[in-house]
C-alpha cells in the first residue's frame, strides 16, 4: 500500500464520528512501510554500536481506545478486571468505564493504562507484534522530510517540544506530527511499549537493567550514550528502562508492527 493511501485510510478512520467507536468492529490502524537500516541505540550493548533493522511495517497511529475495546470484546480475557495480576497491575484500563465500555474515555485517543502483556496480545490477535526497540527508534528517527530527522535543522528541539508539550490526557490520534514515513504521533501523545521491553543493557555483562537505570538517572550513563545532546531520546530510554511488563500507566500506549 502506498504511503498516500495509508495516510488517507488513517485520515478516513479519524474522520468517523465518535459514536461509531463503541462498535465492536473498529478497523485496525493502517500500517506504513519503513525501510530497514541501522540505528544507533542510545545506550548500546558493549561492542554493538548499531542495531541492524530489516524492513518492517508499523501502525500509522497508536492503537486507540476504540480499537482496544473491540479487541477486549473479542477476547474477554483481556477485559478490565479480568486480567490476572501477573499480566497487568491495578491501573489496567483505569480510565475506562466500569460497565465494560469506554466510559468517559475518548474513543479516538491512544489507549493507555495497558500493560506490555495486553499490548503484545492485542498485536498478536491482529497477526502483528509490538515493534522492537530498534524498529521503534528507527521509525521515530524520521523528521518531517527526511528518514534521518537529525539532518533537519532544529529536529531535536522539535521532538523535545512535542514530548514536553504532551497533554496530561492524550487527545485523538492522527492530528499531531507526521513524519517522513507517514507515521503519526511518535512523540507528541504518549510513550509507547516496545517488544523487547527490558532488553537494553549497558554492556553484555550487565547484571540487570537496574544498572542501566541507575547509570541513566545518575548521569553516568550519558558518558556511554551515543548522542548526549538528544535529550528527548534520553527521556525515552530512561522511561523504558524503568518499565516492568505488568505496568499500566496513563502516559503509556503502543502501536503494532509486522
Amino acid at each position: 500500500m502506498s504511503r498516500l493511501a495509508a495516510a488517507l485510510l488513517a485520515l478516513a478512520a479519524l474522520a468517523a464520528p465518535c459514536a461509531r467507536a463503541e462498535a465492536a468492529d473498529v478497523a485496525p490502524t493502517a500500517m506504513v512501510q519503513v525501510a530497514g537500516g541501522e540505528v544507533a541505540l542510545l545506550l548500546p550493548v558493549e561492542g554493538e554500536e548499531l542495531a541492524t533493522v530489516a524492513p518492517f511495517a508499523i501502525d500509522a497511529t497508536p492503537v486507540t481506545n476504540a480499537q482496544f475495546l473491540a479487541f477486549v470484546r473479542d477476547q474477554p480475557e483481556w477485559a478490565k478486571g479480568a486480567v490476572p495480576r501477573v499480566f497487568a497491575d491495578e491501573r489496567y484500563l483505569a480510565h475506562w468505564g466500569d460497565a465494560g465500555g469506554l466510559g468517559a474515555a475518548d474513543p479516538d485517543a491512544p489507549v493507555t493504562n495497558v500493560s506490555w502483556f495486553a499490548a503484545a496480545a492485542y498485536c498478536e490477535a491482529r497477526g502483528a507484534r509490538l515493534p522492537t526497540e530498534a524498529e521503534w527508534e528507527l521509525a521515530a528517527r524520521a523528521g518531517a522530510e527526511l528518514a534521518d530527522g537529525y539532518l533537519e535543522p532544529g529536529h531535536r528541539e522539535r521532538v523535545l517540544a512535542l514530548v514536553s508539550g504532551r497533554a496530561p490526557v492524550p487527545g485523538p490520534v492522527g492530528r499531531g506530527e507526521v513524519n517522513a514515513y507517514g507515521v503519526h504521533d511518535m512523540h507528541g501523545l504518549v510513550w509507547e511499549w516496545v517488544f523487547d521491553v527490558g532488553a537494553a543493557m549497558n554492556t553484555a555483562d550487565s547484571r540487570s537493567a537496574g544498572d542501566r537505570r541507575l547509570r541513566l538517572l545518575c548521569g553516568g550513563g550519558s558518558a556511554g550514550a551515543t548522542d548526549t545532546s538528544d535529550y528527548a531520546a534520553f527521556l525515552r530510554y530512561a522511561f523504558r528502562s524503568g518499565l516492568t511488563g505488568d505496568y499500566a500507566g496513563g502516559g503509556l500506549g503502543f502501536r503494532c508492527a509486522s
Binding site: 480475557e77 501477573v86 507484534r129
Partner: protein
Amino acid sequence: MTRTLRALLVAATAASATLLAACGGDGTTGPAPADSRAAEVVPAHAAPAHHAGHPSALPAGELPGTSLFHLASAWTDQDGAPFALPDLRGKPSVFVMFYGDCTTACPLLVKAAEDIEAALPAELRGQVEFVMVTFATEADTPAKLKAYAASKGLDREGWRWLVGSPLQTRQLATLLGVQYRALGDGMFAHSNVVTVLDREGVPATRLEGLGVALDPAVAAILSVL
C-alpha cells in the same frame, strides 16, 4: 501466529477456571513439531472443559493472580513433547533462562541450578522441577537442547529444557525479570537470574547475578515443599 494468542488466552481461561492442574500432564496431544514452533500447539487439555458431571476434573483451587502459570501456552521440551507451565503445578520449580551457544555465563547458571538440586535433602530432590528455557528460539532445537542437557548429565527426570516462540520467550523473560537482546550473531546479551517458584507458580526467591549464594533458593524450596 494468532493461534499462539489463542492458546494463551484459552489456556489462561482454563487456568483461571482452575482446570489445568487436574488435566495437566495428560500429554496425549501428540508430539510437537520439532522446529520449535511449540507455541502453535494448542494443548487439548487447555480447552475449557468444566461441565457438570466432571467431578474428577475438579481443581485444587484458583491460581493466585501473581502465578506465572497464567502463562499457559505450550513449549517444546528436549524430547519434542509439548510442555506448559501449569504442568508444574503442585511442585516447586527452579527457572533459568540461557542458550546453548553461550559459553560464559550460561554454564554457570545451569550449574547454579544443579548445585541447588544437590543442596536439597536426597529424599526431596524428586519433588522439585528444574526448568531451563532458551533465548535462542531458532538455534536451540529440542535435539540440540537434549544434547546440551546430556552433555551435563542433566537430561533426566525433573529437568525440562524448553524452547518456545519469540513472543512466549519474551513473555516468560518479562515475568521473570530477565533482560535479553539478540546481538545478531547468534549470541545474546542477557541478565543472569535464577528464580524459584512455589507450588502455585508464584515467585518465592529470585537470585540475580553470577556467583551469588544459593542458600536463599534452597531455603525457599524447603519452605514451600
